[in-house]
Symmetry: C2
Subunit: 506 residues, 2 copies
């Protein structure tokens, strides 16, 4: 069995004099691909170039490429030569379990406390925090804009606006058109990030004891937020590719008045990265309207699509103002600005009043900087670059998982966003994976954090916001080893399933 | 009856040739005092100088001073000459009504909606917004510090810290000593202003349906916040000088378990500006501890004392960690930064977790600027100047109220803070005063906004955060005319008592 190679970058067998020449050559190319030095779609040297570069025969060079082709790592294209293969998922997709548990109050602290302690961990790679790496964010541009706004507006230290900056609300309204909705700036309330937006939306339409339906798995902050509001959660199974199961949702919302609101991310939710097809979106909005269930959608990952087009939001299909659209700039531009927004439709006055009595207002400075960045600071250019980088990084991390994780694992195919969702063999406790990976400074979110139930105890979430690097490759290799070892052990030899995370970590 | 003189500065009878010379001279000095050109304590010209300046006899000059002395506007000090008199309140203090209504759920929107629409009103003088004027705040200094922080830390666009900036928490802990408490930086959670601090504290210790005791009157954002949390409010009468009545509080909290928490501002609360004597503070903390009622104190005005010493916070008298101290920099340094904090004592973990699930974190940029300003940016110097200005402005506004308001009015004697609390004749509807004053761009808060009951329907709040000016004098004169007219009318001739504010305004 492999021992730890904390600084190694190679996924191939170690070279030795006994290894045939073509295999050593192939190993070198494999390492270059694994390290990200060569990326999917990159053209490889011709057979002739390869033989000259490495001083080997043409046959040996060809053998090396054929070997890599057999392993799915490179592709021969007629008359063009060899290319690094596009990602080939060698792991199947996670399964969907369509059973539904009853509505229940949330209680997650035992799972989450230790995890949340880690979110700021500065050394973890991949990081625990689901956001693009700093190098992918427009820090220098924002710094420049902020210096200008600060110079022109010393009064932003003293002033605030309850509804939020007019300029920013105008830009949000203007941009919303690309997601299919027409908003007036006065229909928008600026919030402290996307979390406060959803929190205010929930508080606007539901009361303690009410039942809220959610896609499952979903992100822990949402579950915690509902817990803190004293509402009940009814988790609806969600497909890793299409999002929430409309059949299960249909079934769960038959009884009039039993469910007050439905919260979901139609585009690339945390942790699955799924994308609801347009037909599903339309059907969902109609179903909820018929049943008088308020739809609260968060679109914080909506701009991070890997496909050709910006997917529409649910609100673009509504007819009666009962869809509340929440979003934020924390996943795309400036996590540190903590700026989000909500367009509450016919719940506007209630939501605006709640914002005032929760936290009054948000600082104007960063709002004005964002407004300028969106208006004429290269927002679209930035988003294009960010999307391309994330798509590549998703491929690279998925490849690494496929290479390093043991048989029996399953892997999501994100359509956008920032995360991979991995199903491990059923007897592997993801909280143990979390605890062991943490010691190696590898950021893993345990699946238990994404549900009130135990359905995802053998899942983990990884985030691919950072550019690929030898360190990431090594981390994924190490993580694969941890999972492999736990998969080989029986539960009784290690930590028992169902133990509180605190004890697992002790 | 006087007609409106919107740009006039004179409170004295108009001069005319028929007016004796000494009265005309006195009138000029009275106008200079009223306009703020001469302030309480200022030395006046000697009798000889006055006679020379105005080319009048020594007798006439002396007569003018004697006349002003008779009216309480100037003081003769033996061997020193004449001085502008310290403020002499000619109105009695408001009364305290010790009756207590039962606990009730809050419902205030009918009163508050229109008022809150006005808070941002840029033209109002005095403004609707209870904060020091921009000219009294260190905008230029903060602008300079912010430029430096922005230059050194572009990463603050991307990064955030859930607990808040370490540097700021260190400064808060260091400063807390002056208010009598020893805090560790890790016991503090940074919040979006003082409002979120109290909101999180309430949510940490109480649940929907629980009863919270408050001093009455109290600020409407607090009442609204409790409303939004689904908790009940039990209002305890508060004395305009000493704060909450301990006898009434004692009586109201006899039944074990009936009250979950007590929220109050021991130092200069909005709207009364009272100051709890130290003996009261000690007794209050002991009483609440014995009855296992969590004390939540907001000290946002604590630095704005008019006396010799920084008054202690309630938390300085606690023994068991059950006093939650909330504060903010929104009333003293930078309203626009929206930065507050909470030291939740033994409720720390709960409060910290709630912060994360409500709004995750606050921007680091402004936190670092504040930390620097407190550490070595002249925070103390700024506070000294601000306190002196507010004390003078309180005097000037109180004088103007005493001069312009009709008999039967009563006026608080604020010990610090930003507001005057004025009791009008009982049949005057303060919502009508609000509506009429609004048309003149005069910021008045109707008393109804400071209670769930009707106890303060004939009170108004004014704020003296702006430096005195002819415009302020004219506004107070106009306001006095409005109140005088309403006091002379019978209720049936105007708006009926108890009408919703919306109808009053319509």
């Amino acid at each position: 069995m492999d021992t730890a190679r904390p600084t190694g970058v190679s996924a191939a067998p170690a070279d030795s004099a006994a290894t045939p020449l073509y295999l050593r050559l192939a190993g070198g190319i494999e390492r270059a691909i694994a390290s990200g030095a060569m990326r999917p779609g990159d053209r490889l040297p011709s057979v002739r170039q390869l033989s000259q570069q490495h001083d080997v025969s043409l046959t040996t060079a060809l053998q090396a490429y054929r070997c890599l082709e057999n392993r799915g790592l490179v592709q021969a294209r007629p008359k063009s030569g060899y290319f690094v293969a596009p990602r080939t998922y060698t792991l199947p997709e996670p399964q969907i379990d369509l059973s539904i548990a009853g509505a229940s109050f949330v209680s997650m602290d035992h799972v989450l406390h230790e995890f949340l302690q880690m979110v700021d961990h500065p050394l973890a790679a991949p990081s625990f925090n689901a956001a693009p790496a700093r190098t992918l964010l427009p820090e220098a541009k924002l710094q420049h804009l902020l210096a200008g706004v600060n110079r022109r507006h010393p009064e932003y230290a003293s002033k605030y606006q309850m509804a939020g900056s007019t300029a920013l609300r105008q830009e949000i309204a203007r941009r919303a058109v690309t997601s299919g909705v027409h908003l007036h700036p006065d229909e928008i309330v600026i919030t402290n990030g996307g979390m406060e937006a959803v929190y205010l939306a929930l508080k606007s339409v539901a009361s303690p004891g009410d039942t809220i339906v959610l896609e499952s798995p979903t992100y822990f902050h949402l579950l915690q937020s509902i817990e803190s509001l004293g509402m009940k959660v009814l988790e609806i199974p969600s497909h890793p590719r299409d999002g929430i199961s409309l059949e299960a949702l249909d079934f769960a919302t038959q009884i009039p008045g039993a469910v007050k609101a439905c919260v979901l991310l139609p585009n690339f939710p945390n942790p699955m990265g799924s994308l609801m097809p347009v037909a599903h979106k339309r059907r969902l909005v109609r179903m909820m309207a018929e049943r008088r269930i308020t739809l609260i959608e968060s679109d914080i990952y909506g701009e991070l699509y890997f496909g050709e087009q910006r997917p529409p939001v649910l609100k673009s299909f509504e007819t009666d103002g009962d869809v509340i659209l929440c979003s934020a700039f924390t996943k795309t531009v400036a996590p540190g600005y903590r700026i989000g927004w909500v367009a509450p439709g016919r719940h506007f006055l209630k939501t605006q009043a709640l914002k005032v009595r929760t936290s009054v207002a948000c600082p104007l400075l960063q709002q004005e900087v964002l407004a300028q960045f969106i208006r004429d600071g290269g927002y679209d250019h930035h988003l294009r670059k960010l999307r391309a980088a994330l798509k590549t990084q998703a491929t690279q991390m998925a490849d690494a998982v496929a290479r390093h994780f043991p048989p029996g694992c399953r892997l999501s195919r994100p359509q956008g966003g920032l995360m991979l969702w991995i199903e491990l063999p059923r007897h592997v406790d993801s909280r143990e994976v979390f605890a062991l990976a943490r010691r190696e400074h590898i950021g893993v979110a345990p699946g238990a954090a994404f549900s009130c139930g135990r359905r995802f105890d053998h899942y983990i979430r990884l985030q691919y916001g950072e550019p690929w690097s030898p360190r990431m490759e090594a981390a994924l290799q190490k993580l694969g080893q941890i999972v492999t070892r736990l998969a080989q052990e029986r539960p009784e030899s290690g930590v028992e399933r169902g133990m509180p995370l605190g004890e697992v970590l002790a």
